[in-house]
């Protein structure tokens, strides 16, 4: 049990570092507007010190980001901010999950709920991934900011990957819940 607690503590620390670095990078790139939008990279510093901060769009949003950049929009602000949210949600749910593990709650309804929330976020993310670029394009076109921005609907390996992961998490949660219920029933056999 102590091994689980120690490992969980380390994973929590890494999750916080990951979330914090992703958030800070995003904020730095959004605030420092004159970064290279084509590579989504900020390269600053002096001769002796070089600081590079970059942000990767997932493959399916890359073409949309390039189109927005070509039209003169800040792709990072419009797409990157939305892309960051599910990551932060997943980090939060995983942080809660490993907090429960650290407290010794391994097979409980609370832990299965955390895993279910991760699965839900991944499945929700597919909907966002598919329809958010379309929504942005429609808003920009109907808002009169651009007439040439193409409509992008992407369905690629990223979406299938998230769908698979989301479903795996969902099924794992069902199995865990069944196991917990069986254990509770077993406890009531006298």
């Amino acid at each position: 049990m102590s091994k689980i607690s120690i490992a969980s503590r380390w994973i929590q620390v890494l999750l916080v570092v990951l979330a914090f670095s992703q958030l800070v990078t995003h904020c730095v790139l959004v605030i420092n507007n004159p970064y290279d939008q084509s590579t989504r990279e900020l390269n600053t510093g002096s001769d002796n010190l070089s600081i590079v901060a970059n942000y990767d769009m997932t493959n399916s949003w890359e073409t949309m980001a390039d189109s927005l950049y070509a039209e003169g929009f800040d792709a990072l602000l419009i797409l990157g901010t939305v892309q960051l949210l599910p990551y932060l949600c997943i980090y939060l749910f995983l942080f809660k999950l490993f907090n429960l593990y650290r407290q010794g709650q391994v097979f409980t309804l609370a832990t299965s709920q955390c895993l279910r929330n991760v699965g839900k976020t991944l499945l929700f993310w597919i909907a966002i991934n598919l329809f958010y670029p379309l929504f942005v394009t429609l808003v920009i076109r109907f808002g009169g900011w651009s007439d040439t921005l193409a409509i992008h609907i992407n369905l690629g390996t990223t979406e299938v990957y998230y769908l698979l992961l989301g479903l795996i998490f969902y099924v794992m949660t069902w199995v865990m819940t069944q196991g917990i219920e069986m254990k509770q029933d077993q406890d009531l056999v006298i």
């Binding site: 009531l188 056999v189 006298i190």
Partner: protein, 75 residues
């Protein structure tokens, strides 16, 4: 549930305490309390055997079937 546990009645008839029965049967008083209150999902034959031996009764004295109509009438 349609099966009623009459353990409390049998204990009263034998003038025996729950803790004494638990010690005689070899299960914890908490588990016996779960059985007495009707919250148990199942009873092992070995447990039932030990309770019947200690209380000198048969399983029919401990477990009673009550139909839904009777249950509704009681309510």
């Amino acid at each position: 549930m349609a099966i009623i546990i009459e353990l409390g009645v049998m204990l009263a008839k034998r003038k025996m305490k729950l803790n004494d029965l638990a010690a005689a049967v070899g299960i914890t008083p908490q588990n016996l309390s779960v059985l007495k209150s009707g919250r148990a999902k199942a009873v092992r034959f070995s447990t039932l055997d030990a309770i019947c031996r200690t209380l000198s009764c048969s399983p029919g004295d401990l477990l009673i079937f009550q139909s839904e109509d009777e249950e509704n009438e009681e309510k």
